[in-house]
């Protein structure tokens, strides 16, 4: 029987010629990832198990991004624990704040050319599913799984069933991958893909940039998916040629394609030209609406950034729309480039000047406000339009505050208008 892309990657890494949905397998991992919230408990477990060396110092990525630069003493201790461990284990993918390689985990692992097509990655962060955009397999786990994976470089999986999403047509102006994934979550619900993988295909793929694909895969977890994956094409090729020319030149990657007779539990067709600028109202990502139908919702804050929408293309799009405009007098707008590289590019391209002229706050790369950590926590009764990935109760601050999820164009328009709005209103 035929296999999906995900099933083929899993089979290969388990040393099997074939797997089918429901099989339990043990697979070799190419990369293992942790952050400043999930790694310290994993280090404790790693030591409790009596482990003394990570399986491969070049394949463990320890990224401090959630509560950095540290918001309080306890979070400073978390980073210190992680920093000491990284030094002791000589972990190569540990970077200090402010360094050129540094940034939000799911922005830098692809952008720094660490993850490549066909790779198998687990991370103690639910948004690890991001790398499916590169035709890799990646999924989120907890700290115990991280500890065991750091020690042995393997973990167990249940081979997932798949949902096929066939994309037709092309996006209208200002509509991006964020609108597509919000739309899909709205269609199938927050458990619509529970335990399953999502595989995209169709001529509509041409309309979706690499940044858009990373955003889409990033939010696959918000409909319960184990992973999401895009097929390898010329976009993937161009991206990896740029992010890691050495590995690219060595052809050190593998292209997986789905078999013609692969089995799918469900097939969904989406015409990209029918997707409107979309928002998800509180307090669940599936509570989607057309942005234009929410114009009466006044806001207090806008956040543009995160592992979902803090990429170069996102920050550039924000600058393009903001040019010559001002943030509404009742709104704070916080711009968070996803990495130091993006920050530097934005500086040299003049984007930071545009944001500063508009009256935005410009932050160093951090997850910060997305999870109510710092750099933009909300008070009771406040409402924020955010390009992040979750709008759960209390996610960005007080349980009486609200988060509305959107793509970058709606976020910028809303910052200028002081309410939910669309760029054509500017």
């Amino acid at each position: 029987m035929g296999m999906t892309i995900t099933q083929k990657i899993l089979a290969d890494h388990a040393g099997l010629s074939e797997v089918k949905a429901g099989d339990l397998i043990e697979a070799k991992l190419d990369y293992v990832l942790g952050n400043d919230v999930t790694t310290p408990p994993a280090i404790k477990i790693f030591k409790q198990m009596g482990s003394d060396k990570v399986f491969d110092k070049d394949r463990v990525c320890l990224i401090q991004d959630h509560f950095t630069p540290n918001k309080d003493i306890k979070s400073a201790e978390l980073c210190k624990t992680m920093r000491c461990f990284a030094r002791e284990q000589e972990v190569s993918h540990f970077y200090e704040l402010g360094r050129r390689e540094m940034g939000i985990e799911h922005v830098i692992l692809p952008d720094n050319g660490i993850v490549f097509p066909g790779d198998m990655v687990i991370g103690a962060d639910s948004h690890t599913c991001t790398y499916g955009a590169l035709c890799a397999f990646s999924t989120g786990v907890g700290s115990t799984d991280l500890a065991c994976a750091m020690a042995r470089g393997v973990t167990w999986f249940r081979v997932p069933e798949a949902i096929k999403v066939i994309l037709k047509g092309s996006f209208n102006k200002y509509v991006t991958g964020k609108d597509l994934i919000l739309h899909l979550i709205g269609m199938i619900g927050v458990d619509g893909a529970l335990y399953k993988s999502i595989e995209f295909e169709g001529e509509g793929l041409k309309s979706i940039s690499m940044a858009g694909r990373l955003t889409i895969c990033n939010m696959a977890i918000e409909c319960g998916a184990k992973n999401a994956v895009f097929p390898f094409d010329e976009y993937t090729l161009r991206y990896i040629a740029k992010t890691n020319p050495k590995r690219f030149a060595a052809s050190d990657y593998k292209i997986y394609t789905a078999d013609e007779d692969a089995e799918y539990a469900q097939t969904i067709e989406i015409d990209l030209s029918e997707i409107p600028l979309t928002v998800a109202l509180p307090s669940i990502p599936s509570n989607t609406r057309k942005a234009e139908d929410c114009r009466d919702l006044k806001i207090d804050q806008v956040v543009i950034g995160s592992c979902t929408n803090g990429r170069l293309e996102d920050i550039g799009a924000a600058a393009e729309i903001f040019k010559g405009l001002k943030v509404n007098e009742n709104v704070r707008c916080i711009i968070i480039p996803g990495s130091q590289q993006i920050y530097r590019y934005a500086l040299e391209a003049g984007w930071l000047r545009i944001f500063d002229d508009a009256g935005c706050v410009i932050s160093t790369p951090t997850c910060g406000p997305c999870l109510g950590g710092h750099m933009g926590v909300l008070a009771k009764g406040e409402r924020c339009v955010s390009t992040t990935n979750r709008n759960f109760v209390g996610r960005m601050g007080d349980t009486g505050s609200e988060v509305i999820l959107s793509g970058v164009p709606v976020a910028v328009a809303s910052a200028v208008l002081g309410r939910v709005g669309t760029p054509d209103e500017l």
């Binding site: 999930t38 477990i45 786990v141 319960g224 109760v393």
Partner: protein, 164 residues
Amino acid sequence: MKVTGKAFKYGDNVDTDVIIPARYLNSSDPEHLRQHCMEDIDADFAGTVSKGDIMVAGKNFGCGSSREHAPVAIKASGISLVIAESFARIFFRNCINVGLAILECPEAAKAIEQGDTVSADFDTGIIENVTKNEKYQSKPFPDFINGIIRSGGLVEYTKEKSGI
């Protein structure tokens, strides 16, 4: 292995941000996490839960963030079992790894009400609602998963198995 306790009932899509809000993730100490467990949807939970009590919820329990702090917080609260219609994938895996007992049983999840006295047998998968005098059958875990839960988590299980 059998547990008995009174039920704390919640709805669908209970996410890990409400199980343990991110503002408390600056420590992974179970005692610290226990104090804030369920705080954002049930402020009285930490003060009223007793050792052995049972949590019951709808679909997709534990969705959202991969924070293992969530099942650790529930376990530290004294909860002996979580019954739900379905669990989010990462949370499901984390529960087994930290030794928090869970059972998927739509029938039980729908019928059990707040405050009901409930008992469950992990070996047979039978859940009994003592208050309503009803029984529901869930699919029991295989022996090795029950073994992990009985040991108190994957680390303890691994240590036991390898004689550390």
